[in-house]
Symmetry: C2
Subunit: 262 residues, 2 copies
């Protein structure tokens, strides 16, 4: 099995080294990851400036290609230019910190996996729910098993799996659940501060608004010590609203446009 691994914490993070070491047990691993941390870059890609590729040797066991770009860039250039043939599966992670609920919108980890899914390659984003992640063991075990399950069950093209694992020893994790994206989100606050020259600047912070209360959601399940697997896709059409909006009679309405608005 040919496996491509990326992340958004950067190629020197502990999580990606741990995942690469584990996945070497089941396949040929290529690591292509951002040279520096790229958290919260979402699905940004680099077009206005070129990319550079640097060989990165951490120690005798970890080698990868470091890219001066985003996680999505790493998947694109990894598959198009670095790998000899497309990978059978792509992993993004292990991220330090969970990626659940609305937060997955901002996640570079999830976007790397999504970029692979856009290229019709099965992909798995995997995160441990603590920015100071200590326990990668169970996440690694899930990663190996999922590589097997995804191939055996022929995961739908265009779908990726977003996996979150509590930062706990395996025996304290209650199990693994199939989940949906939760709705909890951040209530943003910009702290207003003053720089040494008397000019204002604003720093993003905020409070998490917890609205999920069912184990069917990724966010609530992980809070309750379950690992979660959520299938996500990139078809953003809101089909329910699409049906509702048929009653707006868009084509007819605009034939008579400028009627309602002065």
């Amino acid at each position: 099995m040919n496996i491509l691994i990326s992340n958004d914490d950067g190629i020197d993070s502990r999580g990606i080294a741990s995942l690469a070491a584990t996945l070497k047990e089941i396949g040929n691993v290529t690591v292509v990851a951002p040279r520096t941390e790229q958290s919260a870059v979402g699905h940004a890609i680099t077009m206005k400036i070129p990319l550079r590729v640097t060989e990165y040797y951490k120690d005798s066991t970890f080698f990868g290609y470091a890219i001066d770009g985003t996680p999505a860039d790493c998947i694109k250039i990894g598959i198009r230019n670095i790998m000899k043939k497309p990978p059978d599966i792509v992993f993004s992670g292990i991220n330090h910190g969970s990626n659940t609920a609305i937060n997955i919108i901002y996640s570079g980890t999830v976007s790397a996996a999504r970029e692979a899914a856009i290229m019709d390659i099965p992909a798995i984003a995997i995160s441990v729910a603590n920015h100071e992640a200590k326990h990668f063991e169970y996440a690694n075990k899930i990663a190996k098993e999922l590589a097997y399950l995804v191939v055996r069950n022929n995961l739908q093209k265009g779908t990726l799996l977003n996996v979150n694992v509590p930062d706990l020893p395996e025996e304290e994790i209650r199990g693994v659940l199939l989940t949906q994206q939760g709705k909890s989100k951040w209530d943003d606050i910009y702290e207003e501060r003053e720089d040494p020259y008397g000019k204002k600047y604003y720093w993003l912070t905020g409070d998490l608004v917890e609205v999920d209360n069912d184990l069917i959601t990724d966010h609530f399940a992980i809070k309750n010590k379950y690992a979660t697997i959520t299938p996500i896709h990139f078809d953003l059409t809101d089909y329910k609203t699409f049906e509702t909006m048929k009653s707006w009679n868009i084509p007819e309405y605009f034939k008579n446009s400028n009627k309602h608005v002065k």
Copy 2:
């Protein structure tokens, strides 16, 4: 009506000035937009460094707040810190260049509107399908009408409308269609080049793979000279695959994990 406008082409673009001038006819307009072009930044947000807010006067008719950040940053800080009370509706655009099919994943324009939708505020992303956009008239007309329609029909919270308009005079546009996100996408190529010091660098380019052939898709409709309105949302769960994956028996499978993989 209180209206917030942002974009991803930057506060000095022609498209945002044109939209702001139009929407002033129907409400109080606040412009909060990136200081520099932010195309293809997706839903990136700025957390590691603070944001600066600069007052921007283009001429006697156009005033706005320029942010050293992404489109999503502009919506967050615009609503949280700059506006006295939340807007009734948010617009992002008018973008120079279409945002259809898979490309909306990378779009800063769409992400600005999506950030507003996350905050439960009705939002419209609007683009003219040409990077050298010449015709903003009909896009502006649609923007005004949609502000009216969205309020009258009480657009579902969490949904935004992604609008694309051909770069043509109104009389050459065939009509306005309610559409879905297409599946056309880029076949990426990284051009390998050498810098003056003999080091390699890679520049993203590629060919568009056209797979849409039905007027129900944004991509095909705009190619055929229709303006398009696509409802999109940020619930990324793939519910169809969720149902299929129930047969994977995830919880039971992982109770016996490490059985299948050596």
